[in-house]
Structures are given as C-alpha cells and as structure tokens.
C-alpha cells in the first residue's frame, strides 16, 4: 500500500465492480485538479521490540501477599484507563450502588487464588503455601486463541508477534469472545467507563473504551512499539519476566529451563503464553 | 397463437433460440372467431339515437366509419379527460409495475398478453400520450406514444370487448387504477363512431322502449309472472299472486328481467314471489312490481354514461309515480354497481321517498338513506337475523353449495357477507372456494359487461376458466354441486361455463334457496323443489 491515491482508487473500483484503469475515475480522485503523484510511507518504529511469540513468566515465589500485587495491578490499570467501579469516592460521585457496580467490574490483570486459577490441579490436599498464594492472572495470549475464532468482525485477532489484540473500533459487543475464553480474561463495558476513571488518573495517551465493547490485557502493545517492556513487568521488580518464547536465548526461555513452571488449563490446548513458577 | 405448428424437431433444437419477439405495439391484432361479439343491429342503434347506425362486420376490412373518425375520437378523448379525473389520472400515473398483469381472468384463460390489464390500458394510453402529452409529442415511441390508425382502432374494439369491467386488477394496483373505468371510457369512444356490439345495443334499445332487455311487453311480463305463480301453486299449494304498478304501495321491487325470462333465474323469481307472499300473509308487507321499470340490469352502463343514465332514470321515475316509500332491488351485479355508485348522482335526489325501514323488523337501512334502495340480500339477512322467516334448510339438503361473489357487488359495493348469511341459513351444506378466488379477489364469470353472447363462446369459456377451475376444486374436494350467486348475468352465464368445465355443478340464485326453504303459511307438504326436482327423502315417492 504505497500510494494513497492508488489505494483510494482500488477501494472505489473494487467496490463498484469495475476493473481496469479509467481516466474518468482518476479525475474523480484528483478532485478535478491535477495533482502530482504523492507518495507516503508507513513504517515501524525502529526501537520497537519484536518477537515471534511473546511470553511471560511470573515467579509466584516472589509474591508473598496480595499487597505485593497491588502496585502491579495499579500500574497496568492506570496506564490503560481501566475504570474502577469499586472506588467508593466515584460511586458516591456518580450516585451508584456499590453492589450493582460489582457486576460491571473491568479487569486486565488481577489476583486469583490457586484453586480458581488452576482448577484442574487443585487437589484436596495441596501444599499450604501454594493454596494461599496470590496468583497474578491476565490474558494468556494463547497460541490457539478460541476468542479469535469466534469473533464475527475480527475485532479480536492474533498479531504476528503472538499478541491477542482487541480492535475496539471493530468490536460490536456481541460477547462471543467472552463466552469462548476459558480464563475469564475479558470484561464487557456495560456502561460508559469514563466516570469511573479518576480525572487525575486519566492517561490521555491511551484511549478509554466506550459502552458496549469488550476489553482485556494487550501485553502493552503500545509500549512494545516504542521499545518498552509491559507495565506490569516494569512494576514487578523482577518478579515477572517477558520475552520471546521462540528465542532460545531469551530471559523467559532461561527461566523455563531452570524452573518448574505451570500454565493455566493447559489441557484445553489453547497454548497459554503466561507461565507460573511455583 | 403460434402461427405455424412447429415441428417437434425444430422445437427441440430451437429451444433458447426463439426469434426476437415483437413489441406489443408492433404486433397487429388478429380478430378471431369465437372471441368477439357480432356488431350491433343498426335498428337498435338508430332507435337509441346513437351515432353511425349501419350494418357492418368486424371481420371485413371496411368498418364503414365516418370520414372524420379520428377527429371524433380525438375530441371525444379530450372531452372525457376534461370530465373524468379518474380517466385523466389513470392515463398519467401508471408505472407499469406489473402487479395487475396476472390478475385478469382473460389473461389467465386466453394467454393473450394484450389481455393484461396494464396493456389493455396502454392501448388507450399510447394514443393519449401521442395526442395530449408533451413527452409523447416530442419523443414518440420512446415515450410510449403512437398514432391512431385503423389497426389501433381494431385493437381497441377487440380488447375493450374482451374486458368484463370486473375490477379485479384494480384491487391489486398500488394506485387503484381501474381498468373497468378505462374500458368504460374506451367503449364510450367507440360508440361515438358506431362501434358497438349487438349483445349490448339491442338489449339497451329494448330496455329503453319496453323497460326490459328482452323487450317483454307489459302484458307479457304479467303473463310470465302468472306462469310462475301457477308453478308455485303446483308445488306449494299456495297462490302467491303479486301486485303490479300499484300506486300507493309501500315498496317498489325491481329485479333484472333475466330473472323473468331465463332459467335458472326464473326459479329465483319464484323465490321472490314466495318470499313476498310470506311477508304479506304474515306481516302485511305491501310491495309492487312494475312493468315500466321492469329491468334492474342496465346495459347502458356498458355503452356510455349517458345511456346508463337514460335507462336508469326509470327507477326513480316509477317510484315517484307510484308514490312508494322506498325501492327493493333484486339479485343483480352491475345493476347494483349502477345503483351504488351512479344512480343518486345521475337521477337523484330521491327526496320524494323515505329512508328505507323494514316494515317487519323496524330496521332502518342507514346505508341506503340517500339512494332509498335496499338490496334483497340485505333485506332478507335482516329478516333472518330477527327470526322473522321460518326456514327449513333441510329441503336444500341434496345441495352442496358454494358461493360465487359477483364482481360488481364485491368490488363496486362490498356486499360480501349478507348473501353468505342468507345462504348459510337457507341450506345446510356450504363450502367456500379458495381465498384468492372469492370476496374482493373473486374471479369473474367471464361474460360480464355485455359479453354474454353466444358467438363469443370461446372467449367466455376461456375468461371463465379461472372461476370454473376454483369451482372444480371444491367440487372435487367437497362434492359441491351447486354454485350460488346474486347476479342475473351469472345465472345466465355460469350454467354454460359449468356445463363445459364442471358439468356436475348447477347454478342457483340466493332467493331460490330461500324460496325452497321458506315454510309458507298453509302450504301443502312439498314434494319437489322449485325446479320440480324431488326434495330429499321424497325420491321414492316419485
């Protein structure tokens, strides 16, 4: 797609079922004026981090309590303008009821207990430490994402670097993806989220969402594009590692080699890209 | 149709390679035997004072037209555009969407494309565009215009007399364009240059003179009713002698003369006599027949508005002369369209009469408060509803009856449920035909609007095919053997149609069924129905 004018013409022509060059349409596109051919280019940022399959390794040993997770969650949610429907101040301000708001909760990354996060592995007699350990869960950016398969508009898609991404523009709010995701990683905006983002916390560089779209963790695609690691990794103080799964030299591969790791609901065959060291 | 019988080999190899068809404008008319009615008798035309009375034959090249026939038509056309908004609007607004195309019984039966209502109207529209519109004058054929020629005239004559003015197409037209209206105008135009058919012109002349289509003179009219009185007395043992031309009677009764002279209408006529006698005996009902206004039908309607008015005038004139309170009308189709839509406007106001009130039930017929004329089906239905008639429907038990809605009462008046109510109370076995062939969707008998002649039998049979086909369906499904109707033209036309397509089915008028079922005071045990056929259960005693 090198030439904007060509692009326009082709779009127009193919929509009309006309083929072949047509001087008349040239004139249309030029708006009746002669314009010299102009060329634009679209590039990737040179600093952008690249991978074949991004993956994350979370060292659960380094999180002793829920409190230890909080800064990580906050870093993510603030960065991505994730609303907080549980904030008492905002509830007051909007004249809402806390109970009702619970159902509207939006989360990208959050804490889950072992039994819920790994239902297949939770026997009756589990190691006590593990049983009460807070697990950090988020979208697994699966290798075979079921949510992508069910999306009717391809609003959810898998990028070349393995990130399962939401195109909020295209989402029509059908929520098939939520039904398909076995990890509950997706949240639906039952209402306009903006009133539940503190004004002073709003990040203008990242869009909010509108009522009627689904959202979830994006592996900080916007940060990778400018050469930064995901926010949670940055905030984890080394407890979370991030890297290319297909690169044998990468930090994640190192960690996987040297530690015993588990993944959530592995038996479903979705190929989660988030690993947990226990 | 296909001009040469193609050899099967040619047909097989030629499928998909048919020669380019000609547009309708380029397909000349081919007048065929059996599809048209004879030209009118000059004596009749002359008697009525209509133009260009002469002997002529549509099969001959020379139609003996006046020199300036094109001019006469052009001026007549203009005059009618000025007089009838309907005509003018219908000439202009058709979009040829084709909704009407397959609704016409003549198209369905004959397969002639020019019998599609839209095309029948286009025959006139093409001339209209040429003569009266800017687009037609400038663009000619592209705008669908063409010049009046003798070939076009032949087309007009042929196809305007292949329309029974039944209005079925109008029901489906998104603008209500009524081919009947266009045919009426077209026939008026043809009449201006003396192109009429005898089956219309002679009844009109007769009606004008003697008061009825057949030319039955007053004494003969009475004689014929006397025969029926005798017949009824034979069957019931009761003398049902009616009153004639009685001044000061409460009500005047007018029915089509078809009921007086042709089977099976005559049995309907006997039904009237029985009904009126019953009401007279029981309730002192005072009704009179008239020999002057002895025709309800009005073939003037098929000639021109003016002729219609001339014939129709007798009804009010006679009512006024006799000083009756209101008029009761018998079973007839186009008679009722004329009464409903034209009579009061043409020959009214009928302020010398009273708003019709049934002297028996006290029902005030509000819907006839202007015209002062009540339909016998409305009148009888009201009697039955109030329990004023003693009916023994089992006397009609050998009949399995279906009901044919006549075009005019259904689409020019909307009388659908009254006759059904009467019939269903007069007989026990009643079956409806399929829904797209009855009520406002009813199919024409194929012989209306003056086409009930003998010489156009093929036209009548093809035009009546859709109707007969639906009758055949109920005949095969329910064993229906009697087709009832409230129209004299139906009673005249349907027997022939049935005899050809469904010979097992006979035709009956509504009041004949009532006459059979009605228990007259002092009657003897009836052994036969009004037709002299044994009643159910009486067969062995024959």
């Amino acid at each position: 797609m090198q030439n904007r004018r060509d692009f326009l013409k082709i779009a127009g022509l193919s929509a009309l079922g006309i083929t072949g060059a047509n001087p008349v349409l040239d004139a249309f596109a030029a708006g009746g004026h002669d314009a010299e051919e102009s060329v634009f280019r679209i590039l990737k940022n040179e600093k952008a981090l690249k991978a074949e399959q991004w993956a994350m390794v979370i060292d659960t040993r380094k999180f002793e309590s829920e409190e230890a997770l909080e800064p990580i969650v906050e870093a993510c949610h603030k960065l991505h303008n994730v609303p907080d429907f549980g904030d008492p101040e905002l509830i007051e301000e909007n004249g809402d009821c806390a109970e009702a708001n619970k159902r509207h909760e939006i989360k990208w990354i959050w804490e889950e207990e072992y039994g819920h996060a790994f239902p297949g592995k939770a026997g009756e007699f589990v190691n006590d430490r593990i049983k009460h350990l807070p697990f950090l869960v988020l979208c697994n950016h699966c290798e075979e994402p079921p949510c992508v398969r069910v999306c009717p508009t391809k609003a959810t898609f898998k990028r070349e670097d393995g990130i399962v991404l939401m195109d909020f523009h295209r989402c029509i709010g059908c929520r098939f993806c939520m039904a398909a995701c076995p990890y509950g990683s997706r949240s639906f905006n039952f209402r306009d989220p903006r009133p539940f983002i503190k004004k002073e916390d709003r990040n203008p560089e990242f869009p909010t969402r509108m009522k009627g779209v689904v959202e979830k963790c994006n592996f900080c695609a916007e940060r990778l594009a400018v050469g930064k690691e995901p926010a949670c990794v940055e905030a984890s103080d080394g407890a979370i590692a991030f890297g290319d799964l297909s690169d044998p030299e990468s930090s994640v591969r190192e960690l996987l080699k040297s530690n015993y790791t588990i993944r959530r609901k592995q038996g479903l065959g979705t190929g989660p890209a988030v690993y947990y060291i226990v | 149709m296909a001009d040469d019988l193609a050899k099967p080999d040619e047909l097989l190899s030629g499928i998909g390679h048919k020669p380019p068809k000609t547009g309708w404008m380029d397909t000349p008319v081919n007048i065929r035997k059996g599809m048209y009615c004879y030209a009118s008798n000059p004596k009749s035309v002359d008697y009525l004072g209509l133009p260009n009375a002469r002997q002529w034959n549509p099969m001959e090249e020379d139609w003996k037209l006046p020199e300036n026939w094109k001019q006469i038509l052009h001026e007549g056309f203009r005059e009618r555009l000025d007089r009838f908004r309907s005509f003018k609007v219908f000439m202009d607004i058709c979009v040829r969407c084709g909704a009407c195309a397959d609704k016409c019984h003549f198209f369905i039966g004959t397969g002639d494309p020019k019998n599609m209502p839209v095309l029948r109207a286009e025959l006139l529209r093409s001339i209209y565009r040429n003569d009266f519109t800017l687009a037609g004058k400038l663009l000619g054929k592209v705008a669908g215009a063409r010049e009046m020629t003798f070939d076009v005239l032949k087309e007009w004559w042929y196809y305007l007399f292949q329309c029974t003015e039944c209005r079925r197409c109008s029901v489906f037209c998104p603008y209500g364009i009524d081919t009947a209206e266009i045919t009426i105008m077209g026939r008026e135009l043809l009449n201006l240059i003396g192109l009429n058919i005898d089956w219309i012109a002679t009844p009109v002349a007769n009606c004008y003179r003697t008061g009825n289509h057949l030319g039955i003179q007053p004494h003969a009219f009475k004689d014929m009713l006397d025969f029926f009185v005798e017949d009824v007395e034979d069957i019931t043992g009761v003398n049902v002698e009616p009153q004639y031309n009685k001044k000061g009677a409460d009500i005047l009764f007018i029915t089509p003369s078809g009921d007086v002279f042709a089977d099976p209408g005559t049995y309907t006529c006997m039904g009237y006599l029985i009904l009126f006698h019953y009401l007279k005996e029981k309730y002192g009902f005072d009704i009179t027949w008239s020999t002057y206004a002895s025709e309800g039908g009005n073939f003037g309607f098929f000639t021109s508005h003016e002729t219609m008015k001339r014939l129709n005038s007798k009804m009010y004139a006679e009512a006024k002369r006799l000083g009756v309170k209101w008029i009761l009308g018998g079973e007839c189709g186009h008679m009722w369209r004329v009464i409903n839509q034209y009579m009061d406007t043409m020959n009214g106001p009928a302020d010398f009469m009273e708003v019709p009130v049934s002297p028996i039930t006290g029902t005030k017929f509000e819907n006839a408060s202007g015209t002062k004329m009540v339909h016998i089906a409305e009148f009888t239905a009201d009697l039955i509803k109030h329990g004023k008639l003693e009916l023994d429907p089992s006397r009609n038990d050998n009949l399995k009856v279906t009901y044919h809605d006549s075009c005019n009462p259904s689409r020019g008046m909307g009388m659908l449920d009254e006759p059904r109510y009467v019939i269903q109370n007069a007989c026990n076995h009643f079956y409806e035909m399929p829904a797209n062939t009855i009520r406002e969707n009813t199919f024409c008998c194929g012989s209306g609007a003056g086409l009930n002649a003998g010489e156009d039998m093929e036209l009548r049979m093809t035009g009546g095919l859709p109707r007969a086909n639906a009758v055949k369906y109920v005949h095969e499904k329910h064993g229906v053997n009697m087709l009832s109707c409230v129209c004299a033209v139906d009673r005249a036309a349907l027997p022939a149609l049935m005899e050809y397509w469904v010979p097992e089915v006979d035709v009956v008028g509504m009041t004949e069924l009532v006459g059979n079922a009605l228990i007259l005071p002092g009657e003897k045990e009836r052994e036969t129905d009004l037709r002299g056929e044994p009643l159910p259960g009486m067969e062995e005693e024959e």
Partner: protein, 167 residues
C-alpha cells in the same frame, strides 16, 4: 435395461421437456408465465398441463387405461379447444413426445430395441387419437351450449304466442 425402464428413469426430464414444448405453443411471454406461475388458481392452464403430461406419461409406460388417460388428457384438450388453436394445433402436442423420446434416448438405444420404440410410438399415436376424440367432443359440447343458450333466451313458446316483441 429395457426401453421402458430407461424411459421410466428419464421421466422427469422427458415430461419437463414435453411440458415446455406444449406451453411454447403459446406466445413467448405467455409461455414463460405458464411455466413460472405455480398457483393452480392463478395459472390453471399451466398447472393443468403439467399434471396432465405427467399422468399421461405414466400411462404410456403402464396400462394405457383409456379412462385414466382421458382423465389426464381431457382437462388439457378442454382448455385448448376453447383457446385460439386449430384442431391440429390443439391436439398435435401429443406427437411432440415422439421426438422428445427419440432425442432423449438416442445414445442408449440399441438395434434390438427398435421394436420396443415402435410400440411406444404407436401408443403415442393412440393417445393422439384419443386427444382428437376429446377435442371433437369438446367442440360439440360448445356448439350444443351455444344452441341451447339461444333456445333458452328466445323463450320460443312466448315468442310463438306473440308475447315478445323485438324492436
């Protein structure tokens, strides 16, 4: 496979072609209407013809029961007898079937089956004759109806008595 079985198998195709050639005896616009319109009340001609050709074809390969054949053939001829066809055109469609059959089996037919073919063709001839009979009886009915109607209308008795006077 004998010829009858072969034709049995081809029934749908043959009767369809036969039906098409019959309705193509109408003007081309009409014939397309007759083929397409499925409502038996809005299209009695087409639906009668379709039912008739299928029924007759069965009889042709079956018992040639005169009564059954008439029940299928009569409605078609009855219609054609009042439409603007000459006698030959009204009944001639029966013989189209010969060519259609020959065309349909020309690749399969073997030498020893010509007898069978000829016998079927003579059955078709028989159909044609029945058709002609029906045609004639329809026309006779038509003329009888005309005559009777005339009689009813003139009410001869009254006329004789001088009770009716035409102008």
């Amino acid at each position: 496979m004998n010829l009858k079985e072969l034709l049995e198998k081809r029934k749908t195709a043959i009767t369809k072609k036969w039906f098409d050639t019959v309705v193509e005896t109408y003007p081309s616009d009409t014939s397309r209407f007759l083929k397409k319109q499925k409502d038996p009340f809005d299209n009695p001609v087409g639906s009668t013809t379709l039912q008739g050709v299928e029924g007759m074809f069965d009889e042709l390969l079956g018992n040639m029961d005169q009564e059954v054949i008439t029940s299928f053939l009569d409605p078609i001829i009855r219609i054609r007898a009042v439409q603007a066809f000459s006698a030959s055109k009204a009944t001639g469609f029966i013989f189209f079937l010969k060519a259609i059959i020959r065309e349909s089996i020309k690749d399969e037919i073997r030498q020893n089956q010509t007898d069978e073919l000829l016998s079927i063709e003579s059955r078709i001839d028989e159909l044609g004759l029945i058709a002609f009979d029906i045609y004639m009886s329809c026309r006779e009915t038509l003329f009888r109806i005309k005559a009777e109607e005339e009689k009813k209308r003139t009410f001869s008795a009254f006329e004789r008595a001088g009770l009716i006077k035409e102008i």
